[in-house]
Every structure is written in C-alpha cells, then in structure tokens.
Symmetry: C2
Subunit: 110 residues, 2 copies
C-alpha cells in the first residue's frame, strides 16, 4: 500500500489521531506506543525519523529531537481495520525518558 492510500483509509479518532506502536526492528521489543496525526505520519515517512503528536503539548514531537534518541524508520504497517499503525525502527538510544530501553519495563505479577 502507498502512503496516500493509507492516509485516506486510516480511521483517525475524533481528535484526528491514530495510535502508533514502535517496535525495535532487530530485537523485536515493543518500545512504546504514541499517537500520530496526518502531519506526524507524513513527517515520519519523509524524514525516516519517528515523529509523534504529543497530546499533552498539542504539537508534533520528533522522537529524540532533544535527547538524540531518534528512532530511524525501517518499516510501516497498518492493521486489518486501519485504526492502528506499527512502525519498526532502529533506535539510537533508549525509547523511554527514564533511560529504559522500552517504556514497557514494568511487569505485573500474574
């Protein structure tokens, strides 16, 4: 699928956003989940750097812009009902602001 077709098919939520899951291309770890609007998605593809939309700051957020921990885009996938994106990335450093490699470092005991 091409990007323009994807953008026309995505079921954006009522805020114009879609969830995007970032996965390490090599280790397959799930690194984080954040949100993209159309501009963030287009920038991610154009620059090959994961760019999200910060709901708290209400603006685009180039991952790693200040920390240097950019996520180089390697692959882009959409799910069967076109309401969630999966990106595979090569991270330059930890995904998490805490310094952990993945944001999902807290395990719940079962």
């Amino acid at each position: 699928m091409k990007l323009d077709e994807l953008i026309s098919k995505i079921k954006w939520n009522d805020q114009g956003l879609v969830p995007a899951i970032a996965q390490d291309e090599d280790t397959k770890e799930v690194l984080m989940m954040a949100w993209m609007n159309e501009e963030a998605l287009r920038m991610t593809v154009a620059t090959r750097k994961a760019t999200y939309y910060s709901r708290s700051r209400q603006k685009l957020w180039i991952k790693g812009e200040t920390s240097g921990n950019v996520q180089e885009l390697k692959g882009l996938f959409v799910d069967c009902d076109t309401d969630t994106l999966l990106i595979t990335v090569k991270p330059a450093g930890p995904a998490c602001h805490t310094g952990q490699k993945t944001c999902f470092y807290t395990e719940i005991s079962l």
Copy 2:
C-alpha cells in the same frame, strides 16, 4: 507491580478504556491492538485468556471464544506513563479475523 495497584494507576481514557498491545511471546510479532476496560483486564488475568472490550459491540470480547484462537496470557506489562498495556501471549491460532497470524499484515511502501 500487583494487579490492584496497576488498576488504580492506569490512566483510563474518558471511555474507561486502555489500549492493550498483544505480542507473541515466542516470535515477538506484534499481533494486534485492542482495548480493555477494568473488567476485561481482570478477566484476562483471572482466566489467563486475553479478553478485550469491543467498542463497536460495547461488550467484553474473549478473544477466540468463537474461533478457538484464544491468546493464552504469559506476561503483562504497563508503560512508563501507565496509559498503555502490553501483553505477551501464546496464540492458539491467527490473531486476525482474516486468518493472518497478525493483524499488521499490510505493509506501506516507504
């Protein structure tokens, strides 16, 4: 972290839901993303079978209840800002209703 602590800390959205990413424990493939409310999360842990909340049908949805393609719960993680869950599962069959192993089978050309 214990389940009750998790439930008290989760930032449920305004519909009382949290996104849950399901990952194959063995292959590390990201299988799907769906939503859970508190009841779905408690049932997932109690039954060890991934249970989601269907926003379209507005009711609990035991994954694989009709298809047999249940997802056996193996691990449960929460992200650093406690607004997204990651579950690792052992799937009995395809995650996707199309018969594909993962719902993210559509790749976008970069």
